[in-house]
């Protein structure tokens, strides 16, 4: 074989491996989606969204309480995690050289690596034990704590991508530093930040461990934030490890609803970022 054809063969082999990896990587995703959809769809019907869980032995029933609970707990977490995450990201990027920013970055990375169950136990200690009460609030707190570092780091990285000349442009027009950040730099990075927030949401929507210690679960429908509340993940967990066929089917349906919620969130984010980006073409 000549030198050139050997090099060409090497190149083809390399591209082949790359292509193979691209095929292999999404296979688990395809399987997960296939199973969740095919198993879940059988137990999924209108009642699943509107009815309460039935006692063991009775078939039918739904997870209305858990669907609403999941939305409440995620919503609670987001309400404080999104502003805190974004603002600390702003600080870490705009005051990047300071020791305080470096500390924040280190803290965020460390927090990101803390196992979710540890966060659950921590919140149990500060928000459940003192009140002797599991609650939706505690669940939201646990999930929010997990979201903050993801959002903060994404925001920081995206803000650093905004060219410095844009900050200078705003400052040269008489903007204060904060004004420049909030009217120019942050809007410029907004599409990416929205994506980051949705990724954080998707990540925590599937968390079970921290909720076991905080929101716990509830067989009844509630929207009271100070009460234990059912969530899809905990419900799927409980139903899946039960010995009842009927509950297994319900667990699949719950998993499907969860996946759908995450999927819809990403779609909405895509839509939002498209619209924003349309403004700058």
């Amino acid at each position: 074989m000549s030198r050139t054809s050997r090099r060409k063969a090497g190149s083809a082999l390399f591209v082949g491996f790359c292509a193979l990896s691209v095929i292999l990587a999404p296979i688990p995703l395809a399987f997960v989606l296939f199973y969740v959809v095919s198993e879940g769809i059988q137990a999924l019907n209108f009642d699943f969204f509107t009815n309460m869980p039935k006692p063991v032995g009775e078939s039918g029933g739904g997870m209305a309480n858990a669907i609403v609970g999941t939305l409440i707990v995620i919503g609670l977490g987001s309400t404080f995690a999104i502003p805190i995450g974004i603002l600390s990201g702003v600080y870490m990027s705009e005051y990047a050289g300071t020791r305080f920013a470096a500390l924040g970055r280190f803290a965020a990375d460390t927090l990101n690596g803390v196992p979710s169950i540890v966060i659950g136990v921590f919140v149990y200690g500060i928000a459940v034990l003192p009140f002797k009460q599991f609650s939706a609030l505690a669940g939201g707190l646990a999930l929010g704590i997990m979201m903050i570092p993801i959002i903060a780091r994404t925001t920081e990285e995206l803000l650093l991508l905004v060219p410095g000349t844009m900050r200078e442009g705003a400052l040269a027009l008489g903007a204060t530093r904060a004004r420049a950040v909030f009217t120019v730099v942050l809007p410029a990075a907004l599409p990416g930040i929205i994506t980051g927030v949705v990724l954080a949401l998707a990540r925590i929507a599937g968390e079970t461990a921290p909720l076991l210690f905080t929101a716990f679960s509830n067989r009844f429908f509630t929207t009271k934030l100070t009460q234990p509340i059912a969530t899809l993940t905990v419900m799927v967990f409980t139903y899946a490890i039960s010995p009842y066929q009927d509950w297994h089917r319900q667990a699949w349906a719950g998993a499907l609803v969860l996946v759908t919620i995450v999927f819809v969130c990403s779609l909405l984010a895509r839509f939002a970022t498209r619209r924003i980006e349309g403004m700058r073409q």
Binding site: E168, G169, L173, G174, T183
Partner: protein
């Protein structure tokens, strides 16, 4: 070659200005007077300090950690490095156009309106629209964008973007406009439009322009200041600097023998 500068009061007076990036001294003991309604060009080789000097005039260098300024810079009547100076207010009076055009990712209208809005300069919507139009006309961009004011500024060509940045700077009616190589990233036709614009603007503004291009300095400016290694070598009427400079170094530079 432009006409000799009319006698004009001093707009910017700099006395014994030195500037340091950390331990490194970038400007040494610069003293210069820039008259009002005159275009002054700063020329000199890369790294000679001309851009640094320009940025001391609206305190843009404040943002650089570890930088330090000594000396006096008086804009209008006040020392801009004085203790009670509001930097935000200073930058409103001393506008700046950058080397790379830097429109905000907003509509054309919102770009020009930005300075008016944040400084609370427009009393009403109608006033805002009027001022935006006035600035776009002043920067010779109005006819090209009047039908698409609410389209993104990012869709404009490089030359149009730079004129938009000039319009944005003019909108808040500064007294001085600093231009840091405003045409260096533009093609010859866009450059020519910017130069014509500078010529028209000096009626209303005091303009300081940094340029690498000596023909440009000769075309647009009334006064030229030559910088060399952080020092101001010579300043004088542009025709004098290019034809009969006092300093040997200036002559070598403008004739292309050094730098």
């Amino acid at each position: 070659m432009t006409s000799p500068p009319p006698p004009a009061p001093t707009k910017i007076g700099v006395t014994n200005l030195s500037f340091f990036y950390g331990a490194k001294q970038a400007l040494e003991n610069i003293s210069i007077e820039l008259p009002a309604n005159v275009v002054t060009a700063f020329i000199g080789p890369s790294g000679c300090g001309k851009s640094t000097f320009l940025r001391t005039l609206n305190r843009m260098n404040d943002l650089i950690p570890g930088s330090r300024v000594e000396g006096r810079v008086v804009v209008g009547e006040r020392d801009i490095y004085g203790a009670d100076v509001d930097v935000v207010e200073l930058r409103r009076r001393v506008g700046m156009v950058f080397q790379r055009s830097n429109p905000f990712p907003k509509s054309i209208f919102d770009n020009v309106a930005y300075g008016l809005r944040i400084n609370g300069l427009a009393a009403s919507r109608a006033q805002l629209a009027y001022d935006v139009e006035k600035s776009l006309r002043a920067s010779a961009l109005w006819d090209e964008v009047k039908d698409r004011l609410h389209d993104s500024a990012m869709g404009l060509s490089g030359g149009q973007q730079q004129r938009l940045c000039i319009a944005r700077a003019l909108a808040i009616e500064p007294e001085v406009v600093l231009m840091d190589e405003p045409a260096s990233a533009l093609d010859p036709i866009a450059t020519q439009r910017i130069e014509e614009l500078i010529y028209q603007l000096k009626r209303d503004y005091t303009i300081v322009i940094v340029t690498h291009n000596m023909q440009q300095a000769a075309r647009v400016s009334d006064l030229t200041a030559f910088f060399w290694m952080g020092k101001l070598v010579e300043v004088g009427r542009t025709d004098a600097i290019f034809t009969s400079p006092r300093e040997k170094l200036t002559e070598d530079y403008v004739t292309g023998r050094c730098g």
